[in-house]
Amino acid sequence: MALLQPDKACEPIVVVRGLTKHFLVGRGFFRKERAWLHAVDDVSFEIARGEVLGLVGESGCGKTTTGRMLVKLTDPTAGCILIDNEDVAAIGGQGMREFRQTVQMIFQDPYESLDPRMTVFDIISEPLNVNHIGTLVNREERVAYMLSRVGITPPDMFFFRFPHELSGGQRQRVAIARALVVNPKFIVADEPTSMLDVSIRTGVMKLLAELQEDFGMSYLYITHDLAVARYLCDRIAVMYLGKIVEMAGAEEVIKNPLHPYTQALISAVPLPDPAIRRDVPNIRGGVSKPIDPPPICRFHPRCPAARSICSDRDYPDLAEVSPGHLVACHILVAR
């Protein structure tokens, strides 16, 4: 965590309060009732300047939707997002231009997130181009600098290449350069390494960590892989069916998980050591979709520790059980 500006150091770059997204599903022609998928439900968190927050969960838990709302690709149903003290929902016009320079996103699939008909130079200079930043010469310098920063050298050799002429790792590096070219303060990274091969992946992960240090940015790092989150993130938030169930420092979540879901998730991660026999994850049943869920703990049907209070009370709020360690569980909080 470097480069904190003294006056702003204390206030977080991202504040999310009660963020909610419901998608309309199954409104058939013959069906009267509408059903809502509660993709993200009443999610609140903060990201400090220079901090990396990992958002971890299984597919369909709402982590990508959360990320998309933060970059204004999806509009929230309810709740508020403040980025750099600006209310994201109220941004428009000139403010939008500034917002796009403050917040950027790196996408999962480097084969799909680069326009196949554009050259590397066009791709990376696009954010400068559409926001009318700098002259052509400035842009060329900036793009060359970014390319060398993401490890694509010599930069001018790559200016007029097309994405199909690059390898997967190089493409993701180009995508990173595009996100960083406007000097953003906050980046949403949506599983940027999950499509890459193992020997390439490490290099990209290290690059992300290095750039974060050097540029003093904050990340929301979305991943399904706890080990990656542990390596890259300062704090980890675990999501289950649209709710954050646990949030704490990265090491704390890995070494001392409290929520039964986090515990199950961690015990299910395969380990690269045949000598270790893991316990069977303590979890029942399978994941369902949160379609019009009752307002009770969403994990309790699968929870090994569930008691009557779990189905009697409204869903548990995140509460601090030890300094910096938040859990949404009636049983743990009552203890």
Binding site: R68, R97, Q101, Q104, L114, D115, E126, V130, F162
Partner: protein, 293 residues
């Protein structure tokens, strides 16, 4: 995605596409020979395609040394007519296809990107245009206003544009719209116009180009049909040549006066087939699944 050179390499593999291209080039050369012949070789009074007349023989004259493809019932040289018309057929086909594809691509991209009312409006319009029978409609239009080649090309282009091509290109644009690089462009700060212009249209363009080839074929055939009915204000075209043979009563004469209708009929067929074949060749470039591996 591949570069232009690679596209060409794939296209070259397609025999049908190359055959079509060769035929088109031959027509091009044939058409370009007209001004040379007319100015330098042929006597303008005799060989003019519309007002020429050869007083030395009876008409229609069978092919002979002076008239390699014979003359028509009013004494005009068939070969000169054929050559003269080639350039105009190119103009008609390419102009109407260009209009249809440019307009169709733009509307398709808009309809796909905005959805909602824009989409519904243009799709219903396309349904109407497609359901409405073209040829009878144009016969009626042609009898109300005298259509020359140029205005005919424009009308044809717009009718095609608002018809089926919009639906096809919209379907393609819809596939492009959901690709992550569109999201990436939005996050970069691109507005709607930028995304449509810089991302959606370039990625729909290969398919547009393919349909352009098929539209050339459609335009030439429509012109031939309407000229045959004599509703177009066109002094000379391949369709007109058949029309002339027909109105003078030579068309259904058991092939005795074959030089009146066979050269123009063959030209229409070959020309349309050539563009269709190039389209088929391009199809293999655009749709990788069709490719011989």
């Amino acid at each position: 995605m591949r570069s232009l050179a690679q596209h060409w390499a794939i296209f070259r593999e397609s025999r049908i596409g190359i055959a079509g291209l060769v035929v088109i080039v031959c027509f091009g050369v044939f058409g370009m020979m007209w001004p040379l012949m007319f100015r330098n070789v042929w006597d303008p009074n005799v060989y003019h395609p519309v007002v020429g007349f050869d007083p030395t023989m009876m008409h229609p004259a069978a092919p002979c040394r002076g008239h390699l493809l014979g003359t028509d019932p009013i004494g005009r040289d068939i070969l000169a007519q054929l050559m003269f018309s080639t350039g105009r057929e190119f103009l008609l086909g390419v102009l109407s296809a260009m209009i249809s594809v440019v307009v169709g691509t733009f509307i398709g991209a808009m309809a796909a990107y905005y959805g909602g009312f824009t989409d519904a409006f243009f799709m219903r319009l396309a349904d109407i245009v497609m359901l409405f029978p073209f040829v009878p409609l144009l016969v009626v239009v042609g009898s109300l206003v005298r259509l020359d080649m140029f205005s005919f090309a424009i009308i044809l282009g717009f009718l095609e544009a608002f018809g089926g091509i919009t639906i096809i290109l919209k379907a393609q644009a819809l596939q492009v719209k959901v690709r992550p690089y569109i999201d990436a462009a939005k996050v970069a700060g691109g507005d709607d116009l930028h995304i449509i212009r810089s991302h959606i249209i370039p990625n729909v363009l290969p398919l547009s180009f393919l349909y352009m080839m098929f539209n050339v074929t459609a335009a030439i055939l429509s012109e031939a049909t309407l000229s045959f009915f004599g509703v177009l204000n066109i002094d000379m075209s391949w369709g007109m040549m058949i029309h002339t043979a027909e109105t003078a009563g030579y068309l259904f004469d058991y092939g005795r006066y074959w030089w009146l209708w066979l050269p123009s009929g063959l030209a229409i067929t070959l020309f349309c087939a050539a563009f269709y074949m190039v389209g088929r060749g391009l199809d293999e470039v655009v749709n990788p699944r069709l490719r011989k591996r």
